[in-house]
């Protein structure tokens, strides 16, 4: 039974359908021309070999109405740019530019430039939209240039130059800032930077004056060539490479050095390893993954792991350290996780729907939801049950030193009731069986392994 991928419908030449555990790409006649142009190149062979491009095989079983069908491997998790860290988006931008450079050198082009065509595999970006490649027609400009600036370059500039995280913008407007919006966001910053001048200010100005006009024929007649695109790509590569973000010390970057963390780490690792031994999970969701210590243990046991946290600094550091590992890194606030959105509310499924775990780790998490985000304990336990799989969870008592920090500015009557361990056991017992438990050395924290009823 084939079902269309809800995020693959914009390009009529190439659509992805899911068929059981298979990922198929169905091409129309034009899509087939693009595939034929790509398949014979050195670029295709080398980029698939070094995992810059997703593995692709043409199959004989072509459904009626399609000109050709390709098969890709199923990726364990699909992530979106509003869940990526700065370095992830930067690496994805560089991959996009490098592939375009290599494509042009072999008579091809990439017809769009969106980070939704890139996923992370083994800790590195990988281009997944084979349908984006097509033969380059002499005289054609780079059609994806504006999209590249809106979805890659401007978000990176926003973080590097304006000091504002790009993820909320991309989550709210998946197309990214327009040149005019980016010019306003920049204000008087980078007045003498040629990248800001051309890609932001001049693009905004020219766009305002050229709306509704057709220029492609003019450019072709005037002799536009791939050489011009290559020059633009070289300059963009240099600009993107120069964009840096140095996280401040306001997050959890030094979490590992906190007293309770180093003290309890061995006990928590042992408890998790016992749960992994018991449940043999293939897919682990680490909620509040922080520096990725427990995600790494799960990945070491052979699971595909989705590591979720709301702190960009720690996740960016984890990304830099996770090359070659099976960790998927997701930046999102669990009190407000990425929702289902896009066309018809189904184009980009929620992060929870994409995770589909068979073991959840919730270490060092629920006290933040209860005391910082003011989620009632009953709601938190009920939410853990919605994953419909075993959970290992760390309970933190109201007298724990971290809870005292979190509640320093709250009065007792402003906190939800049922916060103590007796109530936690009762709430958990309504929905789960407690199959394992242990007290941590602090005396204010305990671990529970919960099995859904």
């Amino acid at each position: 039974m084939q079902s269309p991928d809800p995020g693959s419908f914009r390009d009529p030449a190439s659509r992805v359908v899911l068929d059981g555990n298979k990922v198929l790409r169905l091409l129309d006649r034009r899509g087939l021309e693009g595939w034929r142009a790509l398949a014979g190149t050195d670029l295709f062979a080398s980029a698939v070999a070094d995992r810059r491009l997703i593995g692709t095989t043409e199959i004989d079983d072509v459904p009626p109405g399609s000109a050709a069908a390709l098969e890709h491997p199923m990726l364990p998790f699909i992530g979106y740019p509003y869940e990526w860290t700065f370095t992830m988006l930067k690496d994805a931008a560089l991959l996009q530019l490098d592939l375009l450079r290599d494509a042009l050198s072999q008579g091809l082009t990439i017809k769009d430039a969106t980070p939704y065509n890139i996923q992370f595999s083994d800790g590195k970006p990988m281009f997944i939209d084979i349908g984006s490649f097509e033969a380059y027609q002499q005289g054609e400009p780079w059609i994806g240039y504006r999209q590249f600036t809106r979805q890659f370059l401007f978000p990176l500039m926003l973080r590097a130059w304006v000091g504002v995280p790009f993820q909320p913008w991309l989550r709210g407007d998946m197309e990214g800032p327009t040149p005019a919006q980016m010019a306003r966001l920049l204000g008087k910053k980078k007045l003498f930077n040629t990248g800001a001048l051309f890609h932001v200010r001049l693009q905004a100005r020219v766009e305002a004056r050229m709306t509704g006009r057709s220029v492609r024929d003019d450019l072709r007649t005037a002799g536009f060539s791939a050489e011009l695109i290559q020059a633009n790509v070289r300059k963009l590569r240099s600009l993107v490479s120069s964009l840096e973000w140095a996280p401040g010390g306001d997050g959890w970057s030094d979490y590992g050095s906190c007293n309770h963390v180093s003290r309890d780490r061995t006990a928590k690792s042992d408890f998790l390893e016992a749960a992994i031994e018991r449940t043999s999970p293939q897919r682990v969701l680490d909620l509040g993954a922080n520096d990725g210590h427990f995600s790494t243990i799960a990945a070491g046991a052979g699971a595909d792991v989705v590591a979720v946290d709301s702190d960009e600094a720690v996740l960016d550091d984890l990304y830099r350290r996770s090359k070659g590992s099976s960790l998927a890194i997701v930046l999102t606030d669990l009190a407000n996780p990425s929702p289902a959105q896009g066309w018809a509310g189904t184009e980009r499924p929620s992060v929870v729907d994409r995770a589909n775990p068979d073991l959840v780790i919730a270490y060092g998490l629920i006290h933040h939801l209860i005391y910082h985000a003011s989620i009632p304990p009953r709601e938190v336990v009920g939410w853990l049950r919605t994953f419909d799989c075993p959970v290992v969870v760390e309970f933190v008592s109201p007298v724990d030193e971290m809870v005292e920090k979190l509640t320093g500015n709250k009065l007792a009557h402003e906190l939800h009731p049922d916060r103590d361990e007796v109530n936690f056991r009762a709430l958990a017992g309504e929905l789960f069986d407690i199959v394992d438990e242990t007290n941590l050395s602090s005396g204010t924290r305990a671990l529970f392994a919960l099995q859904p009823r």
């Binding site: 001049l202 693009q203 004056r209 006009r213 492609r216 003019d218 005037a222 695109i229 020059a231």
Partner: protein, 65 residues
């Protein structure tokens, strides 16, 4: 040429000539010559209504140094 599914933005396409640097100068010069010739042609013909050819007119084309 079949238009792609993506709106490339006319201004953003045009800008690529400017960003192209030295290689763009020739293209820009040719485009400006086209514009000049088109204007002369228009001045000799009926001005105003009925123009069907939008060109790279009215837009300055500074060159990248």
């Amino acid at each position: 040429m079949i238009f792609g599914y993506l709106d490339p933005g006319s201004g953003s396409l045009l800008l690529q000539v400017v960003i192209g640097g030295a290689a763009g100068i020739t293209v820009a010069a040719k485009a400006l010559r086209q514009k000049y010739q088109l204007r002369r042609g228009k001045n000799l013909a009926v001005p105003g209504e009925g123009e069907t050819t939008e060109s790279i007119e009215d837009t300055a084309l500074p060159t990248d140094s």
